[in-house]
Point group: C2
Chain length 349, copies 2
C-alpha cells in the first residue's frame, strides 16, 4: 500500500498550532483514500537556534533529501533577527532543493469576506520565481559604523531561471484562459527587468494560445485592487511574487487562508508546502490560529504526491466547514484551531 | 509682484493633455492670489528622442536649474523602450537635483468611488526615498546571447540617504498621529533591508512622540487592502514606495487622481511635480484624460512655492468639481479634460 515519508517542520509560534491539526487531517484523508503518511517531525526552529546557533543540523538538507516532501509551519521569533532565522532554514531549503517555483493560488473561499464587493469570481494563481532575483546573498556593508556606511545587494536574474518559471507559468496560463500577466518594472529597474521581459516574451512565444500581458508592478498592484477579477495567472520575480501573493490574499480577505507550494517540478528533490502566514508570536499557543492556509498547503502537497482524490476531499472539507459558518476568530468566527480541524475531519469523504 | 519661473515638460501622450489645462488653472489661481507664473515649455519627450537620440538637450539640467520648479506631465511611448525614456529624463532630474523625497499623499476624493467600502477616512502619505535604493545604474548583463546569460543590478542604500528620508517622514508623521509605518523586507532581503531598519529606527528615535511601526512589505500590501485606514504615514524605499503609492491610489479608486512631489527639501535645486499616472498612449489626444492628478500635483507645487492660499483654492476647486458629479470618463463621468478644467477654474476662489 502507498506510503509517503513527509518531513514536518512545525517551526515557531502558530506554525506549531496549525501543522499539528493539519497533519491529523492529512492522516484522516489518507486513511479514507487508502494510503499512509509517515511524518518525520523536525524540531528545527528558533529555539534550536538559540540553543545551538543553527536553525537546522549541519546535515539538515541531507536528512530531508530522502523524504517525499516537506511540510513547514512558520518560522520567526522576536528573539532572533528574521534574516537569521529565514536564511538559516526556509531559504536554504528552497535553494538546495531547487524549488524554483513558488505556486500561490487564491480564490474567494465560502464564508470569507473579501476586501471589496463583486469579487466572487476571484481566481488568481501567482507563479513566483523562488530561488534567484532580488533575494541574493551577494552584497554587504561598507564602512560599518561610519557616517559613510552603505549596504549593497545584488539582484541576479539568469536566462535559465527566468525561462523555466516563464515556462511553468505559461503552462498554467494555458489552462486558465491563456493570458499570462508578467509583473515587471522595466521602466525603472534598468538592468534586470528589461531582461526579464525579453526572456519571458521569448519563452511564452513558444506556447500557442498563451499571450503575455506585461504590467508594471506598481500598476499591477493598483489593478489587483481595482479590478482583481481581470487577472488570472501571474508570473513574477521572487520579490514581486512575494508582494503580489500577499496582496491577492488580502483582496480575498485574509493572509491566514493562503497556501504556498515550493516546487521542484522535475521531482529531483522534495518540494515544500507551507501556509503563507508567519509565526504570529502574539497568538501562538492560544489555540486560535487559523489552520486554513496550512490545510490548503497540505492539499497542494497531496496533489503533488499524486493523491488527487485525497487533495480534493481535504479542500472540499475545509471549504464546507467555512461555508457552514465555522471559522477561527481572525475570520470573525469563534472556533478554536482544534474545533475547526475536527469539523474538517468530520467532513472528509 | 511675485513671479515664479516654472519649467513645464508636458512629455508624451496624455501628459500633454493634462498639463495644458492644469497650467491654465494655475494661471487663474495665480491671478486670483496676486502672483504670476512664467512657464518655460520644454518639448523634451520621446519625439525628441526619436529625432535626436536624447530625451533632453545636453545642457537640459543646467537649463532647468535656473527655474523655481519643474512641472512634468508624463513620459513614455510604445516606440521607445521605457527604461530609455525614463533614465533619459525623469530619473536624471530626480537625481541631479537631489530630489530625495517623493511625497505621495492620497485620500478619498468626493465623488470618487474607493475600491472598498468604509474608507471615507482614508488619509495616507507615502514618503518615498527617491534617488537611491533599488533604482541604480550599477549592473549589467553577462554573456549576452548565450545560454548562460544573466543580468545583475545592485541596490544601494546609504546611511545618509536613509537617515534623511526617515527624518522627513518622521516630521510628517509627527503631525499625523505619531506612527510612522516603515516598509521593510528584513526577513528576505538580507543586506540592505536590515540596514534600512537600523537607520530608520535610530533616526526616528530622535523624534519625541513618533514611533516606528516596522511592517514587512508583503504584509503591508495586504494590510493596505484589508485595513487601509489603519495606516497614515509610510516611509519606504524607492521601489517599495513606488509600489505602495500606486496601491494606495488604487484603494482610493484611481491612479488618475494621484499626485507626486519630487522634493529637494533644502531648496538648493528646483523640485519637480507630476501626476503619478503614465502617458496612456491609447487615449492620448482624445481630450478625455483625467487632469485631477496633474491638478493635485500643481497644488503641491504652489504650496512648495509658498503660495499656500492659491494651493488650497486649487484643491478646493477640483474637489468641489468632483463633488458636483463632474468627472472624466475614467471616473464614470462624461466631462472632457477641458470641460473639467473649466469647471475647476469657475470654482476658484
Ligand atoms: C516611470 C517610473 C520610472 C517611475 C518610478 O518608478 O519612479 C514611476 O513609476 C513613478 O512612480 O514615478
Ligand atoms: C519569510 C520570507 C523570507 C518569505 C519570503 O519573502 O519568501 C515569506 O514572506 C514568504 O513569502 O514565503
Amino acid at each position: 500500500s502507498r506510503n509517503f515519508t513527509i518531513d514536518s517542520i512545525p517551526g515557531d509560534g502558530i506554525g506549531v498550532d496549525v501543522t499539528q491539526v493539519a497533519m491529523e487531517c492529512v492522516d484522516a484523508a489518507a486513511a479514507l483514500h487508502g494510503f499512509t503518511v509517515s511524518w518525520r517531525i523536525r524540531d528545527w526552529n528558533s529555539d534550536l537556534y538559540v540553543k545551538t546557533g543553527r536553525m537546522m543540523p549541519v546535515d539538515g538538507i541531507e536528512q530531508l533529501s530522502s523524504g517525499d516532501g516537506i511540510y513547514l509551519g512558520a518560522v520567526g521569533t522576536p528573539d532572533v533577527p528574521d534574516d537569521v532565522t529565514l536564511w538559516g532554514l526556509l531559504i536554504p531549503i528552497r535553494r538546495e532543493f531547487d524549488q524554483y517555483i513558488n505556486l500561490r493560488p487564491m480564490k474567494l473561499l465560502p464564508g470569507v469576506t473579501g476586501a471589496m464587493p463583486g469579487i466572487e469570481d476571484l481566481d488568481i494563481v501567482v507563479v513566483r520565481e523562488n530561488v534567484e532575483g532580488e533575494y541574493s546573498q551577494i552584497g554587504g556593508r561598507f564602512g560599518a559604523g561610519t557616517d559613510a556606511e552603505f549596504a549593497v545587494q545584488e539582484s541576479v536574474f539568469t536566462k535559465a531561471g527566468i525561462s523555466r518559471v516563464a515556462r511553468y507559468a505559461a503552462e498554467a496560463a494555458a489552462g486558465r484562459g491563456g493570458t499570462l500577466v508578467s509583473a515587471t518594472k522595466s521602466n525603472g529597474i534598468i538592468h534586470t527587468m528589461p531582461f526579464w521581459d525579453e526572456v519571458v516574451a521569448r519563452t511564452v512565444a513558444q506556447f500557442a494560445g498563451v499571450t503575455v500581458d506585461k504590467v508594471l508592478i506598481d500598476a499591477l498592484a493598483a489593478r489587483l485592487v481595482m479590478k482583481p477579477t481581470s487577472v488570472r495567472t501571474i508570473v513574477a520575480s521572487n520579490l514581486f511574487g512575494d508582494i503580489l501573493s500577499d496582496l491577492v490574499a488580502g483582496v480575498a480577505g485574509s493572509i491566514g487562508i493562503a497556501p504556498s507550494a515550493n516546487l521542484n517540478p522535475e521531482r529531483r528533490y522534495p518540494s515544500m508546502f507551507e501556509p503563507v502566514h508567519g509565526s504570529a508570536p502574539d497568538i501562538a499557543g492560544k489555540g486560535i490560529a487559523n489552520p486554513v492556509g496550512a490545510l490548503w498547503a497540505a492539499s497542494m502537497m497531496l496533489e503533488h504526491l499524486g493523491e488527487v482524490a485525497a487533495a480534493r476531499s481535504l479542500t472540499a472539507a475545509f471549504e464546507s466547514t467555512l461555508a457552514d459558518g465555522i471559522a477561527t476568530p481572525d475570520l470573525g468566527g469563534s472556533a478554536t484551531t482544534m474545533e475547526f480541524a475536527k469539523e474538517v475531519r468530520d467532513r472528509l469523504r
